[in-house]
Symmetry: C2
């Protein structure tokens, strides 16, 4: 049942995503889609990334949430353009939602768009938004066993950010077991340990991202 119903939605989504991808390439804008659980620190990671890259690049942020605009307000408070998408209940962003947000941004002026997907380790995995990379964030309090339980998101991600590493002493997180599980699902994606609210480790992640933005 699910496969029959999903197929036409995905085809339509993917076709629009391909249009968006072409548009991003023509305008030399790099788009990164951040996937994570609720409360893993997506917005804090975006704020830290903006801090690291705002001198070199023109950045905009698209915030996907079921409701509220608290995240977009935090980004705007840093003087960075932010567009809030409220999905009205939907558990993931789709390319049609992204298109509406893109339409209000001036792509000519932008180098990098950071998309914060809805907090959900499952559904956003299946939806192409025309982005250049999907990057996932797992936070230490969520536990080292998450690759076993949510393999899909680890497989589709171009990089894995491990956030809140400063809280590792508080939680029983086995970093070696985590990295081994990630490697089995995704041998190529780099893993960036960071503490976004403190800025620790952000430089390495930001440098990986900057290399890609420069090539866009």
């Amino acid at each position: 049942m699910q496969i029959d119903l999903h197929k036409p939605i995905l085809d339509k989504n993917d076709s629009l995503a391909a249009d968006l991808r072409k548009q991003f390439a023509e305008k030399h804008v790099y788009v990164v889609d951040l996937l994570a659980s609720p409360g893993s620190g997506k917005t804090s990671t975006i704020l830290a990334t903006i801090d690291a890259l705002r001198d070199e690049f023109n950045i905009a942020v698209i915030e996907g949430d079921i409701a509220s605009s608290v995240d977009a307000e935090k980004i705007k408070a840093q003087g960075i353009p932010a567009v809030q998408i409220n999905t009205g209940g939907a558990c993931h962003l789709e390319s049609a939602m992204l298109k509406r947000a893109i339409d209000v941004l001036d792509l000519e002026r932008l180098d990098l768009i950071i998309v914060e997907n809805v907090g959900n380790l499952v559904c956003p995995t299946d939806f192409d938004l025309g982005e250049n990379a999907k990057v996932m964030i797992l936070s230490v309090p969520e536990g080292d066993d998450k690759p076993l339980k949510y393999p899909g998101v680890f497989q589709v991600s171009d990089a894995v950010i491990l956030n809140k590493v400063d809280t590792m002493p508080v939680f029983d997180f086995d970093r070696e077991a985590f990295e081994t599980s990630v490697r089995e699902l995704n041998p190529k994606a780099p893993i960036f340990p960071i503490a976004a609210t403190k800025g620790d480790g952000v430089e390495e992640w930001a440098s990986w991202l900057a290399d890609r933005v420069r090539e866009a």
Copy 2:
């Protein structure tokens, strides 16, 4: 589009859920469905609840995960029957999945079934499983703003467990703001602050649950 497609799925799900609910009532089994983000401590909360209630009640656990059986193994290690449902990618449990798990349990012998839904604050909200109560867990590291961003799950929950309260000094969690937001969405649901891995606060939550199991 979404409404048109969801409607028939929900009707079929809800009809089977109604059958399950009738079956649970006839057998005097109380069924609680736990909703939470990945890594909020669902399994630890279940283990602590089992510890508190196993002397009085016969308990079984149904574990919903996209992949793996690590949670069911942890429950079985405590000598409690556990059935693992692997959704194979689906982001929530449906009543048809629950029925297959129920079919292998001896309802005559059971007083309480604890269902651990897929880690997802969004999708499980919409699916009736025939349970007596939906209870959600939010963990302190996820942040006090989650009621604003994921209102649906707070609205449908009969009780709210706030887990990992022992880590409150590490995180910038405003408990008063959290409780105010919850109250606006759901004036009735009790909020139980606990630290599942340490057993703190579990007694009050377990007592609330025990009162309901006795009446089933």
